[in-house]
């Protein structure tokens, strides 16, 4: 194996400004890159202290996707069926859950203790799932 890190992952968002409001404004992520490439807006975010792992917030549409395909992507995304699942870790799941829901973030799963840790699930404004876990130290 010659690969050594997962540096970026991509999810689809329906509106990049609204995505910034959510991922930066509510979740507390940082803008890593916001560049107008002419053909697309290259917009990535990362967690504070972890700039090596970026999430590309891409808007589906032409010419990358033909209009009919883009419409399918948007429909699947909004019904929560597109995938694009992010997993993050936290030091305190209950506290993070309380802070996020107080900001109006929508949850689909409350904090639950599991063998691997305590985690909960939230939904971004478009339909992507984000799972946030306080992981137990592995023996």
């Amino acid at each position: 194996m010659t690969m050594n890190a997962i540096s970026r992952s991509q999810i689809y968002v329906l509106d990049q400004d609204e995505a910034l409001d959510f991922y930066v404004g509510k979740l507390g992520m940082e803008v890593n890159t916001d560049a107008d490439l002419g053909f697309m807006r290259w917009l990535t975010v990362n967690l504070p202290g972890d700039p090596e792992r970026e999430i590309l917030l891409e808007k589906p549409g032409p010419p990358a996707l033909d209009p009919a395909t883009a419409e399918q992507v948007r429909e699947l995304l909004t019904k929560g069926a597109l995938g694009g699942h992010l997993f993050m870790t936290t030091d305190d799941a209950h506290k993070t859950y309380a802070e996020l829901t107080a900001k109006g973030v929508e949850a689909y799963d409350e904090p639950t203790e599991r063998p691997y840790g305590i985690d909960f699930g939230i939904r971004d404004p478009f339909g992507n799932k984000i799972r946030i876990g306080q992981m137990f130290t592995q023996a």
């Binding site: 948007r74 429909e75 019904k79 929508e106 799963d109 063998p115 699930g121 339909g127």
Partner: protein, 155 residues
């Protein structure tokens, strides 16, 4: 047209998320329709068109899935599990469970063991009974003895 579909999908997803999150509470269709900002009749029809089953059925199957989980993962009595997952009576729980799973809660408990280390939202997504059938993607296990399975670890 397309924008309206997206908004409708997202509203239906919001109501479905509420069922996944708050299945233990006395949720009903009027409350869910309010979450989606539509009338009850519109909600039932649109939810079914979006996700392939009625909201009532979705919630029943979510509650039964959570019951299946608790039956295997805990030693709680069946009666306690019935109320813990949101059913209001033991009779309704037993009838619904048998109707959906094909056996009684205690028979299911005797027979099953679940993987312990997967994130619970994946268990909830993949173990919720469906008309489309049982999960089929899993790799066949070499040893079918449920007690022999090594718990995998996430994170």
């Amino acid at each position: 047209m397309s924008r309206a579909v997206e908004e409708s999908n997202r509203a239906m997803l919001r109501a479905r998320d509420a069922m996944d999150r708050a299945y233990a509470q006395p949720l009903d269709v009027p409350a869910l329709a309010r979450i989606a900002h539509v009338s009850e009749a519109h909600f039932i029809r649109t939810f079914r068109a979006t996700f392939g089953e009625t909201p009532h059925r979705y919630l029943q199957r979510r509650r039964v899935e959570r019951a299946m989980y608790l039956l295997v993962q805990t030693d709680q009595p069946v009666t306690e599990i019935c109320y813990a997952v949101g059913f209001a009576s033991l009779g309704t729980f037993s009838r619904t469970f048998r109707d959906i799973v094909g056996e009684s809660p205690s028979a299911y408990r005797r027979r099953k063991e679940l993987a312990a280390g997967v994130p619970s939202c994946f268990i909830k997504a993949w173990m919720r009974p469906s008309d489309a059938g049982r999960p089929t993607q899993g790799r066949p296990t070499a040893n079918a003895d449920p007690g022999a399975r090594e718990p995998i670890s996430f994170g």
